[in-house]
Symmetry: C2
């Protein structure tokens, strides 16, 4: 089942994606809901970020192939030291955008790259759950782009603007509830050309370990989103680009890239 | 003006604190509202965290006196390297609790301490504002306890559980809108005994610089909360303690401390 959040004529709703249409849902997808008779063509609605997350988590360096890539690009000693450590952090809900919304590059950024990732969508409050129990607290999965930038802030001690600047968190297009999260391909494309293909089977900490791990100290809430790490190589983004993250079995998240407009100009 | 969020008989509202009473507010304190006729004794309402923040930010090592203290307690070389760097990060809304709510110590924590701090409350969306403009985007100020723990997680690479575990973010008791944020004392008390007293005049990055700085990359929203750093020394918390953060001119935030109950026991 594919659950989308969408807007049409100024009205927002959840819906069930059925082929090229979306059927509106009445009620709360995290509690009780019913499927309505009203359908809309997908190409006539605006897809919104699939939840209104209270928290937007990420887990860094969760694939050996990505670690190897980052050793070449960044401080190799630091990357090796940090690889394998379970290190969730809060990317911040401020940066979440939806399918087709533009990724906006701030002028201070010298180099911004994409990271195509699988996202866990929490379905009900989870606290101190085991990895075996974790699957029952997950509603489904979607795609994200963990946009990351380097710039004048290379000496920063946190990811607050490197990975948390506004628009650096595209999520969507919708939630797939029936999928094995550890047997998925993640394909990233820039301007239609495939640049990277990885498999979620390569995760260091799998989805159930991640949910269990965070929940030992933090109550995860319905709708919370967790990025699970980039599987491989990354590529720079430039204004005018279109970047796609496709996870076959879920869908394709596509976002154009723009330079930030100076309001004074 | 003191703005509180409170609950009485299962009903939640904002209110105006007038002496020992709170007068209910109708409407949205960030847009349009009116003052009602209904008043309640403060000691009969439950004070809630003063906003429903979308983002809960913190700025680390923002006072020289606190840096000196931390050099003694933690990795001195790292602390000296990091002092002075503007480094906001997201503590996470999951950990926010209100006045009188218990701080719950997880069994994995060996040592948990308080950090009494001034909190900035954002009043309207702020993006790319200058320090001079920043005051117009701030609704007011409140008190917080930036609870921080050391434990089996001392090798962690982020603050996710050290400072972001559930209940590690007490905020309140209410918002004071008419106060000079850079001429305030911050007093922390443990079981009634004063342990630390600092002044917000010692901030490295003042409140307007903080709001301006974050807003260069992030849209701050109405109700967002920003911790501005601990001014001095800190002290360990133990089950049974009561910890107070008083900022004269604003109010006193008080929280009991408990050990986490094992649900199985």
């Amino acid at each position: 089942m594919k659950l989308a959040r969408f807007r049409i004529n100024g009205w927002e709703s959840y819906g069930l994606v059925e082929g090229a249409e979306v059927r509106a849902i009445q009620g709360d997808i995290f509690r009780e809901y019913s499927i309505s008779e009203a359908t809309y063509p997908l190409d006539r609605v605006k897809l919104l970020p699939p939840t209104q997350a209270a928290s937007f988590w990420a887990v860094g360096l969760n694939y050996a192939a990505h670690v190897a890539h980052q050793e070449g690009a960044l401080d190799a000693e630091r990357i090796r030291r940090e690889a394998g450590v379970f290190r969730p952090w809060q990317k911040g809900v401020n940066c979440i955008i939806g399918h087709t919304d533009p990724i906006v590059l701030p002028p201070e950024a010298d180099y911004v790259h994409y990271e195509g990732e699988l996202v866990i969508v929490i379905g009900r409050p989870a606290r101190r759950v085991t990895p075996d129990e974790a699957r029952h607290f997950i509603l489904g999965y979607t795609c994200a782009n963990d946009v990351s930038g380097e710039g004048s802030w290379s000496k920063d001690l946190t990811n607050w603007r490197r990975k948390g600047s506004d628009t650096f968190g595209p999520v969507g297009p919708w939630i797939e509830t029936e999928v094995d999260p550890h047997r998925l391909d993640i394909i990233t494309r820039l301007n239609g050309k495939e640049h990277d293909r990885g498999s979620t089977s390569g995760m260091t900490h799998d989805c159930y370990a991640i949910v269990s791990g965070i929940s030992q100290f933090v109550t995860l809430r319905s709708g919370d989103l967790i990025l699970t790490g980039a599987p491989g190589a990354v590529e720079a983004l430039h204004p005018g680009d279109v970047v796609e993250v496709e996870i076959p079995g879920i869908g394709t998240l596509s976002n154009p890239v723009e330079a930030e407009k100076n309001e004074a100009s």
